[in-house]
């Protein structure tokens, strides 16, 4: 009864278009012809010399921006493959010197590193599943315009964007609930990100109501409509939100640092944090400890690479989802 291809959303481009459509701001009649306008306007009148000079300078500035952003990454990558002698002498910039992979072998042979990596995967998956379940339910409820008390329910969520209890009461609460040393200390206090909630809510609001009405006439109840009709049609937004949460939990370190008391429960970000911390404290000491600092710096570079790699690897694929999500959230939130 529901013809699938008619409304199935899968490509990011479609999401982007759908997001665009939801924009409340009045758009010029040009609408989607923005690229066309550009091409047209640049030819007439002919660009002045000042503008041509500006374009050259602009290209230089933006190239410098790209270089400034990338340089630190490439430098750390180069250091991770370099031997400590060259790092020590400050001779490693963009290309590894004294190429070797012994530091990688060293870090990867540490059982604690793999243990913490597994923990990160486990925490990320659990927390993301919990967060998606709770966020989806609430976003769906909030998207129903006829619902009585809807404004209050929205207000309850939005208020927490501007005021929160602060770290001490949260810490006291999590300890009080005996959630320390469990995944719940990470998953539950962050189960709903209000920004994500609002993005999902506006996605649901933009779905054509006819499908749900038809399903209701066919005798489906709310649960089944959500599960069988709404969710299958929301794959794009679900994918986006899952990525938002997964990246957030993968990157988080403070909750694990705060609530995990034994190193077998640390996430890999806490593992890296402890390296960062030891580098700081060593370099605070005498310069005589120079060699030690360098070994730590070497290991630090490798750990940075290994922690960031999953994100860097999926980054090209997730980037546009993030962009469309942020744009939608901004328009509605």
């Amino acid at each position: 009864m529901v013809s699938e291809p008619a409304v199935t959303e899968s490509s990011p481009a479609r999401v982007a278009r759908q997001l665009d459509r939801s924009k409340a701001a009045p758009r010029g009649p040009a609408g989607d012809q923005v690229p066309g306008r550009r091409r047209g306007t640049r030819r007439w009148p002919p660009p002045t010399r000042a503008y041509q000079a500006f374009r050259v300078i602009n290209a230089i500035i933006l190239s410098l921006v790209a270089v400034a952003v990338l340089f630190p990454f490439l430098n750390v990558l180069a250091q991770s493959f370099s031997s400590e002698r060259y790092i020590n002498a400050g001779q490693v910039s963009l290309w590894p010197r004294g190429l070797n992979v012994t530091t990688y072998e060293h870090v990867m042979s540490d059982p604690l590193f793999w243990n913490n990596y597994r923990n990160t995967v486990f925490y990320t998956v659990t927390a993301t599943v919990v967060a998606m379940a709770v966020t989806t339910c609430y976003a769906y409820v909030l998207s129903k315009p006829h619902l009585r008390g809807r404004k209050v329910l929205i207000g309850i969520a939005v208020f927490t964007m501007f005021f929160n209890g602060g770290i001490i009461p949260n810490y006291v609460l999590v300890s009080f609930l005996h959630m320390r040393d469990t995944v719940w200390a990470i998953a539950l206090p962050n189960a709903i990100n209000v920004f994500n909630l609002l993005v999902m809510k506006s996605f649901f609001e933009n779905m054509p109501p006819e499908l749900e009405e038809a399903a209701a006439v066919d005798g489906m109840d709310t649960y089944r409509i959500l599960w069988r009709i709404v969710l299958p049609l929301s794959k794009a937004v679900i994918a986006t939100m899952t990525l938002f949460y997964a990246v957030m939990f993968w990157n988080s370190w403070f909750a694990a640092f705060l609530y995990m008391d034994n190193q077998g429960l640390f996430s890999v970000t806490v593992y890296l944090r402890n390296i960062v911390d030891s580098v700081t404290s060593v370099s605070n000491g005498q310069l005589a400890a120079g060699t030690q600092v360098q070994i730590a710096a070497n290991i630090q570079a490798v750990t940075v690479v290994l922690v960031a790699i999953p994100i860097l690897f999926i980054y090209p694929f997730i980037q546009r989802y993030f962009v469309s999500g942020v744009t939608l959230g901004a328009v509605k939130g």
């Binding site: 758009r27 010029g28 009649p29 040009a30 923005v34 306008r37 306007t41 640049r42 374009r55 602009n58 933006l62 790209a66 400034a68 952003v69 630190p72 790092i87 020590n88 400050g90 001779q91 910039s93 709770v134 609430y138 619902l147 009585r148 309850i156 927490t160 929160n164 209890g165 602060g166 770290i167 001490i168 009461p169 949260n170 810490y171 609460l173 300890s175 009080f176 539950l188 189960a191 709903i192 709310t222 990157n251 370190w253 403070f254 705060l258 890296l272 944090r273 960062v276 911390d277 700081t280 605070n284 710096a297 630090q300 940075v304 960031a308 994100i311 090209p316 993030f322 942020v326 901004a330």
Partner: protein, 309 residues
């Protein structure tokens, strides 16, 4: 009449409950979440007025009135970190707020779509990294033999211990914030730029307005609502300046400039166990933060004609 209306309200609630009880049931878990993990901690701030002992009752043992606020007012360390917070917050706002706008305007002038997309993709990247990764990259890059000091060396400058020098801490922090967030911040502005009416540009061109004047009189007013929203949101995080990052990159040497309210209360509360005093500091911080947001919003609504709510 009042009673009648109340009866009517009650009846319509009953109708709503009967019709939508399944929808309401879906809200139970999320509401529990908000109650327990968002609103209960707000209430939990009462321990700022009560004596709390670790392991004791959630809301502390006994009332002590303004004892901890009195302590706060007479704590020279607090005023030091308060000042640091204001300076660091102001610097972050001063440089962090215009950076994405300028970058977005520059990107908007790029004609080659490929080049534009490349710069965008690259500049968004740091936003996706963990704060720990960013801190580690800073450690590497700003070390005495890191790339920044290498560049200084080529220029014939002696190496600087950026992260151990209180005089450099603020610059290092603010630069890293711009490095991390300026690119991603352009998304909102670039989206807003596409909504500026192209007819305005055509009209301006016919009137002989230069590109610069077009930018000043059409583009900037066009993205003003976005700027206001972002500014208010930035002001909202003013007091809580980069807690996680500062916690990672500061050290006792840089406390004089780097220690802020949130890191101080973390050390007072969680490291030293003075929960009540730390809660008092936290409450002080959030009340100022909330006041700032409301003030900014009211100002934006009255003077600029557009606010966040």
């Amino acid at each position: 009449m009042g009673r009648q209306r109340r009866a009517g309200v009650r009846r319509s609630w009953r109708v709503a409950a009967r019709r939508d009880w399944r929808l309401y049931s879906l809200a139970i878990a999320p509401l529990l979440f908000f109650a327990v993990f968002r609103y209960l901690p707000m209430v939990g701030n009462v321990i700022a007025f009560r004596q709390y002992l670790p392991g004791g009752p959630l809301f502390g043992d006994q009332w002590v009135g303004f004892y901890y606020f009195d302590q706060l007012i007479h704590d020279p360390n607090f005023w030091q970190v308060f000042e640091n917070t204001l300076i660091l917050g102001a610097l972050s706002l001063l440089f962090g707020f215009p950076a994405p706008i300028i970058l977005a305007l520059l990107l908007n002038e790029v004609i080659s779509r490929g080049a534009k997309r490349f710069v965008q993709s690259v500049s968004y990247l740091p936003h996706f990294l963990s704060t720990v990764v960013v801190a580690a990259i800073m450690m590497q890059g700003l070390a005495t033999n890191g790339i920044v000091n290498q560049a200084l060396g080529w220029a014939g400058h002696a190496p600087i211990t950026f992260l151990n020098d209180p005089g450099w801490f603020r610059s290092a922090y603010v630069s890293s914030e711009i490095w991390q967030y300026a690119g991603f911040g352009t998304i909102l502005y670039l989206a807003a730029l596409t909504t500026v009416d192209s007819q305005l540009y055509e009209a301006a061109r016919i009137d002989g307005a230069s590109r610069w004047r077009q930018t000043w009189h059409i583009t900037l007013p066009g993205i003003r609502p976005t700027m206001i929203v972002v500014l208010i949101l930035n002001i909202g995080t003013f007091m809580a300046v980069g807690f996680e990052k500062i916690l990672l990159i500061y050290n006792p040497l840089t406390y004089p400039t780097g220690d802020v309210i949130s890191t101080y209360l973390y050390r007072v509360g969680i490291v030293s166990g003075s929960f009540s005093y730390a809660a008092a500091i936290g409450l002080f911080e959030s009340v100022i933060g909330l006041t700032l947001v409301f003030a900014a919003n009211t100002f934006a609504r009255r003077v600029l004609g557009a606010g966040l709510w």
